[in-house]
Symmetry: C2
Subunit: 561 residues, 2 copies
């Protein structure tokens, strides 16, 4: 009997979380990878810069990998590529703008010889047994793709991040025909974006933001300072258009906004009206009502331009009474507080601040419930896997699919690492592969784990108290110390008495131990740690890390001179 063919979908990231999207599609011994994104660290990942998926499954099977399909150029879809591409070798397929961003990223990380292949929405390619169709979708970055992956066992449709914008800025709307045609011919499995499943109705069109910009630009009496996501090229386009229509010049400030705008302009994604773009130095010389400054900082990042302006800490620009600041973004929850603080500071400096919710200067890039229903009904898949979302969102998206008639047994609310397996006989979750998160801190990839994070947590709460004692290796007597040094525990100048008491306490403990014949340093240290910990907690109700360090001093060192 011939071996039964198997098709597997293995999400390695993006399930039960927002970010680090990565999915393996495997047919027998051939693999495609969709996206390789990063996530931003959660509150409890102290000091961590970014998080990437554990992609060891991909490395372990790298000889089977035929290609990487990238849906669009956001960090949560491309941010892990500089790490992954050090460990594997495979061609990357995506649209021109996405590849422009990918290549910049690879170059910054000194990764060479990666084969990147530009495709256009509407294109199809063959990769081994797979045929891949690239499908136009709308999203908050141009040239975003959905995918149809045809396999001998059926077709998988992946929406990528999408919304259904009937009036997009470039008139290139989501390819309804293609999705409907796929549905008509029969789709085995749909994977769809769950980000906005909790929002009823439809997501507003990007063009609405442009209309609001036009109003704001017409009404503002002084300068306009507009902050948005650097990658939202259509948003930047609408700023340029509104500025041109209202006789304002535009200056771009901030490295990230400049980078994106440069790449987008080079690749013809940005149509800059002649004479509209000027240098910031020039802009600062013009009357306020002829100027618009675009910058990032809409997320309240501490080092961003807008935050620095709000703190009066930017070297070239300050906020003046009469300025209108437009925050064309919606803060992610974790940044809400710092964005609110920035807005407060801008108000204090006398600016008019226009911000969400309710002002209309931002719309989401993700489909709301009615669009998600439309996608499911167009594609009419046999099986459904909600992707890109925290667990409750996946659950709700699954419930939505069930309401639309997808059979409950064919809806897979899965975890990262789940192997969703399709055979002629049916589909099931058939196991689990290695998956998880790898924390990146500076140059360290994966070296910071739970122990280091636990220490950082404790250090952040109550600081550290270090006890240093030098003992004679020969006699075991104290020859120097005990000395105490603290950081982040108490304000030392006002706590001298307490620290002196602590020293006496340590001296007592040490001497008692030594007198009782406890000479093993590990035991001595744990005695100090316990007794001092209790003493300090009674005095302060704080629990600093207590770190006794004992040095052995050799008598010989002394007799040598």
């Amino acid at each position: 009997m011939p071996k039964e063919h198997k098709l597997q979908i293995i999400p390695l990231g993006g399930l039960g979380e927002i970010g680090k999207n990565m999915t393996v599609i495997r047919y027998d011994n051939q693999i495609l990878l969709i996206d390789a994104g990063l996530a931003f660290p959660e509150d409890d990942m102290l000091g961590i810069d970014i998080v990437i998926p554990d992609y060891s499954y991909v490395v372990d099977n790298k000889d089977l990998l035929l290609g990487i399909l990238v849906t669009h150029g956001h960090e949560d879809h491309i941010g892990a590529l500089p790490y992954l591409m050090k460990d594997i070798d495979a061609p990357i397929f995506s649209t021109k703008l996405t590849l422009g961003l990918v290549n910049t990223k690879l170059k910054e990380n000194n990764i060479q010889n990666v084969q990147t292949n530009a495709v256009k929405p509407g294109d199809s390619i063959k990769l081994g047994m797979f045929k891949v169709d690239f499908i136009r979708v709308s999203h908050s970055i141009p040239d975003s793709l959905g995918l149809a992956i045809h396999t001998p066992l059926g077709t998988i449709v992946h929406t990528g991040d999408f919304k259904l914008d009937h009036t997009p800025v470039t008139n290139e709307i989501l390819d309804i025909y293609k999705f409907a045609d796929l549905g008509d011919k029969g789709v085995l499995c749909l994977m769809s974006d769950s980000t906005n499943i909790e929002r009823p109705g439809f997501t507003m069109s990007e063009r609405r933001v442009g209309q609001m910009f036009d109003e704001v630009f017409r009404d503002a009496k002084g300068r306009i300072i507009l902050a948005s996501f650097a990658s939202n090229v259509h948003r930047v386009q609408q700023v340029l258009t509104a500025a041109f229509n209202n006789d304002r010049k535009v200056a771009i400030v901030g490295r990230s906004m400049l980078n994106y705008a440069t790449i987008a302009a080079e690749l013809d994604y940005l149509d800059i009206p002649e004479g509209t773009l000027i240098d910031i130095d020039e802009a600062l010389k013009l009357p306020g009502n002829q100027v618009c400054i675009i910058t990032t900082g809409s997320q309240g990042e501490p080092m961003s331009v807008l935050t620095r302006m709000a703190m009066n800490d930017h070297k070239k620009m300050d906020i003046q009474p009469g300025d209108t600041v437009v925050i064309s973004a919606s803060p992610i929850p974790v940044n809400e507080k710092s964005v609110a603080r920035t807005i407060d500071n801008l108000f204090k400096l006398g600016a008019t601040v226009i911000y969400e919710p309710g002002s209309g200067v931002h719309v989401s890039g993700h489909a709301s419930q009615e669009e998600l229903k439309l996608m499911i009904n167009m594609v009419k898949p046999r099986c459904f896997i909600p992707v890109h979302g925290e667990y409750r969102m996946l659950i709700k998206h699954g419930q939505l699919a069930e309401q639309l008639g997808i059979v409950k047994e064919n809806i897979f609310v899965a975890d990262n690492g789940s192997v969703i397996e399709f055979k002629k006989s049916g589909a099931c979750i058939a196991g689990k592969v290695t998956s998880g998160r790898i924390l990146v801190d500076g140059l360290g990839v994966g070296d910071v784990g739970n122990i280091v994070l636990r220490d950082r947590k404790q250090l952040s709460q109550d600081g550290i108290l270090i006890v240093v004692i030098a003992l004679s290796k020969n006699s075991g007597e104290i020859v120097a110390g005990p000395d105490i040094v603290t950081r982040g525990f108490v304000y030392v100048r006002e706590s001298e008495k307490m620290l002196d008491e602590a020293k006496v306490k340590i001296q007592e403990i040490t001497e008692r131990c030594l007198n009782n014949g406890i000479t093993e340093w590990a035991l001595l240290k744990s005695n100090i740690r316990d007794a001092l910990g209790k003493h300090l907690y009674d005095k302060t109700k704080r629990r600093p890390i207590i770190l006794p360090i004992i040095q052995g001093v050799n008598k010989d060192n002394y007799l040598s001179y």
Copy 2:
């Protein structure tokens, strides 16, 4: 010429922030204090438990203080009393429930002999030159008060935290007559709650939540686990009522929920239908559809009952498939992420979770724009001070007042510490008194300042690396070490090579210094810190705190044995 009389309003907390509300009212040499609340620490206040206002102005003028008027029993209005009452002596005036909560708090802190005076909404008292009317308002805790303070220079109205609930749970609605009557007779200055100024329309009635509870309780097939704010006694009442009407018994779990319920029941604010309240052990034996468990944890606090249940970490209760969990609260922004994680975990355990927004199981306790307009138009004050809000909220509330006809010059968007002064001739901001925030960490009140917080921040990001060296006091030679200990920097087991290299580096630096005649320890330490810092940053792109500790070992110590 006789001295001109002066009336001053001096907010010491609650302006430009949510929390730590405290306001001084001073007429010549007589002072009243309104509220003494705490704030919860912001993200960057690592390890801080709570924040209280700098009330040194009150202490400096304690002989002039006639009384403390407390509007209601929330922590942001009473939480600083245990600190303040150690430093001053004055009678406290408030309603029975509020005083019940205040007294519990004072008792926990061993503060005795505080004179507390119960008042009822509608009461008036004389305090020196002041006459104070206590006015019923609606809020998310029973017996909340607004205040009218009559002085020879005019009447000040303070709304306290309020909403206008036309159908409150107890049928005791905000005293519209009184506010209107005050307005009719003439009000010098209105201070009004700005918390919800950014919300259009009206805030929904608390009773709506009860109706939703009734639906949920009727439809749920298994147990109901309901989390809410412990202090929202009316909410708890509605749970009890819905349970009684739907033949469910109620068990209360969690210290804070039990405390509040006990105080509220003792003081007759809670009407517990006979036989409804049972013990948790008893509840766990009943069939699921006869049980409702009330608890806290609606804010995602790590130690709260619901969070522990969601983590499968509660000693008595676990979440089972078929349970319905109702989160009757709206998370404050800083907790949104952890609440979302709790909801995710509850879904994973198979529960149905009902949560905001959109589910109707929570309403705010603060007035939205239309109610705020009504308050201003009822009271028709000459001057207006928006209070209880971050800066942008105060600005917007001020703009609202201007739209309603209050003269712009009489609207004071002030800071904590501002002295808003009223004389016969007019009102102005006439100066500034000491104000600010005092950080409480364990038993330490105000001892953690910027230096300690900066250290905690750096420790939390990249950890600490400690270098210990023992030097001979006589020869200056190294007699022990250099030893390296780290916490929160790298995972030591995987970084041995790097740390060994660092040791060699330190040895080199130290010897080079000693050879070059640098024997001053401070200089030696800073040489080590700089060179090692650079070295480690190149290797890791991390910047741990580097802490060189040098011990001097005396030769005599060695020759003595």
